[in-house]
């Protein structure tokens, strides 16, 4: 199996272009099921002017790789993609994406879900929102930490 495609980048990306590149790799690996998750900058309170993501350069790729490897030991997976941006981004822009592929649809779904749960709470990214009212760090939700218990 190919090693996971892990990218941590400042540049914007097109989720569709990523899925176009990913799908043939999945097919060639014998997968019949491809699941993708894309996270977008959302203007929750209204008036969001931008989102800034800080990360821990030395640790980030390592943490993502560990999460991807854990997924590949749990499920029969073809290629795995994890792509996460840092820096400044505007509302509605894609922040990150994961894609999984498997011979079985349940495995593809579960693996993508797993990657997202662990990425949320175990990969060193922090979001800061800028609105008319000022800047504030997004607080972690208790349910994000709780979600990890689904995978024990």
């Amino acid at each position: 199996m190919a090693s996971p495609d892990i990218r941590v980048q400042e540049a914007a990306f097109d989720p569709g272009a990523e899925l176009s590149a990913f799908t043939p790799l999945a097919a060639q690996a014998g997968a019949g099921a491809v699941v993708s998750f894309t996270g977008l900058v959302r203007d929750l309170a209204g008036g969001l002017s931008r989102m800034e993501i800080e990360h821990y350069p030395g640790m980030t790729e390592k943490a993502l790789r560990k999460i991807a490897e854990e997924a590949t030991t749990r499920w029969e997976l073809g290629p795995v993609l994890i792509l996460h941006r840092y820096g400044a981004m505007a509302p509605e822009e894609p922040i990150m994406m994961v894609a999984t592929a498997s011979p079985r649809r349940r495995a593809a779904f579960e693996a993508a879900d797993f990657l997202m749960d662990f990425l949320k709470s175990r990969a060193p990214f922090w979001k800061k929102e800028s609105t008319d009212a000022g800047e504030s760090w997004v607080e972690a939700k208790p349910e994000d930490e709780d979600a990890l218990s689904r995978w024990r």
Partner: protein, 81 residues
């Protein structure tokens, strides 16, 4: 030992990182030393439940030993994805 701060901890302390000489044997001892330094450190470390620590880029605990550790990072719970 290199110490890194991220997100609002970085902002409260006013530094992204610093080199520190310490005899602390655990993360808890290191935190106590830092908090004793100045008000901004005390403020940053006032609620440890809101802080996570990584030792040499691996998530760890506050009672973990610092033997051989070269890089300690303090940050709030992650909010990526």
């Amino acid at each position: 030992m290199q110490i890194l701060y991220f997100a609002w901890i970085r902002e409260r302390i006013g530094l992204p990182k610093e080199q520190v000489r310490t005899d602390a044997t655990t993360v808890n001892e290191l935190v106590a030393e830092l908090a004793a330094r100045e008000e901004r450190y005390a403020l940053a470390f006032s609620d440890l439940k809101a802080i996570r620590v990584a030792l040499d880029q691996e998530l760890s605990d506050f009672d973990a030993p610092l033997d051989g550790v070269r890089e300690v990072a303090f940050f709030p719970p992650m909010t990526g994805g």
